[in-house]
């Protein structure tokens, strides 16, 4: 891929040196993502990469990509990584971690992948207290296949497979993954965060850091659910999608810490 980069020259006009305060993390490749404008995946990838850089673990981290919009995550992370079958990332991560316990293993999964077809795999990885980190992005729809109802679709929400709006009496209720996993003794860290505002995004990154920290400390399974925007399948603009998270998603999926192991330290 050829990408013309029209970079402004780094400012060197003054005698005093400019400090570089932010640049692309080393744990991300240069490849532009295939994500739609305003999709949260790109920013969440970036935060995961920043955390990996900050913890100094890039050389020993292995990523497991899902099936869904983030299926190409392995191309974007500058890490050893693999592509799991739909929903099976926690099982694959279990296999990797069990034979390489000195490596940091994480999965990156969407809501259809993790909460629907991969329900059994995530449940049992958590029950076993696998020393893996799970980044779970909930945007309430199947994005890659074009906006079908997900297990996390909120009541009344219109999708291509719930065209009248999700009717909970016939199509079931939304699933709350960190609340479900938090009571399990093997789970060290289970929280929900949201991408709808600047302050909330800072908390997302902190939570990702804590989730990796849990694995580094070996205190158990860690999962961060992140409410992300899908402007395309919500049929709203990227900026309106943030309001959609705040007004529609947050009432169903409150942010919060459902389990933080006492041994965990930042």
């Amino acid at each position: 891929m050829t990408t013309m980069v029209m970079e402004r020259e780094a400012p060197t006009l003054t005698a005093t040196p400019w400090e570089l305060v932010y640049q692309r993390p080393a744990a991300l490749t240069d490849l532009p993502t295939h994500y739609c404008p305003g999709c949260s995946h790109g920013a969440i990838h970036r935060m995961v990469a920043e955390v990996i850089d900050e913890l100094g673990i890039r050389e020993r981290t292995i990523g497991v990509a899902p099936v869904g919009c983030a299926v190409f995550a392995y191309k974007y992370f500058n890490l050893d990584s693999c592509e799991a079958a739909h929903g099976r990332a926690p099982a694959m991560a279990t296999g990797l971690k069990r034979v390489r316990p000195d490596r940091i293993v994480f999965t990156y999964q969407g809501d259809g992948d993790l909460a629907s077809i991969g329900g059994n795999e995530i449940l049992h990885a958590a029950l076993r207290g696998e020393q893996i980190t799970v980044i779970f992005v909930n945007n309430a729809v199947y994005g890659m296949t074009g906006g079908q109802m997900a297990p996390t679709t909120i009541a009344g929400m219109k999708t291509t497979s719930s065209p009248m709006g999700r009717d909970v009496l016939t199509q079931g209720y939304p699933i709350h993954i960190p609340e479900l996993l938090a009571p399990m003794p093997g789970v060290a860290y289970a929280v929900r965060r949201s991408m709808h505002a600047v302050a909330e995004m800072r908390k997302v990154k902190k939570a990702i850091r804590m989730a990796f920290q849990a694995q580094l400390q070996g205190v158990g399974f860690s999962i961060v659910e992140i409410l992300g925007a899908c402007p395309t399948n919500w049929h709203v603009s990227p900026t309106d999608a943030l309001d959609y998270i705040r007004d529609r998603m947050l009432p169903e999926y409150p942010v919060g810490d459902f389990k933080v192991d006492a041994r965990l330290r930042d």
Binding site: V21, P32, T239
Partner: protein, 77 residues
């Protein structure tokens, strides 16, 4: 006070506008021209205000287009 600036990899930009909405200094705007992908990329527009290098644009950007620099004003003097 600090002075800041950003460099923008325009051809990565997808015109989502999240940075424009989030920028506390209101120094980001869409360019008139299109980039290689057919989007009008974001650009720095400091006619009315100045960038402080706070990095909020880089935080919200899904496409990692920003590199952020900062310079203490006293040093610039």
């Amino acid at each position: 006070m600090t002075r800041g600036t950003v460099t923008i990899q325009s051809d990565r930009c997808k015109s989502c506008g999240l940075c424009i909405q989030a920028c506390p200094q209101h120094v980001l705007a869409f360019a008139e021209e299109f980039n290689l992908r057919g989007y009008r990329p974001v650009q720095l527009d400091e006619r009315e205000h100045h960038c402080t290098g706070c990095g909020v644009c880089a935080l919200v950007c899904p496409d990692v287009v920003f590199t952020v620099y900062r310079q203490p004003l006293r040093r610039a003097a």
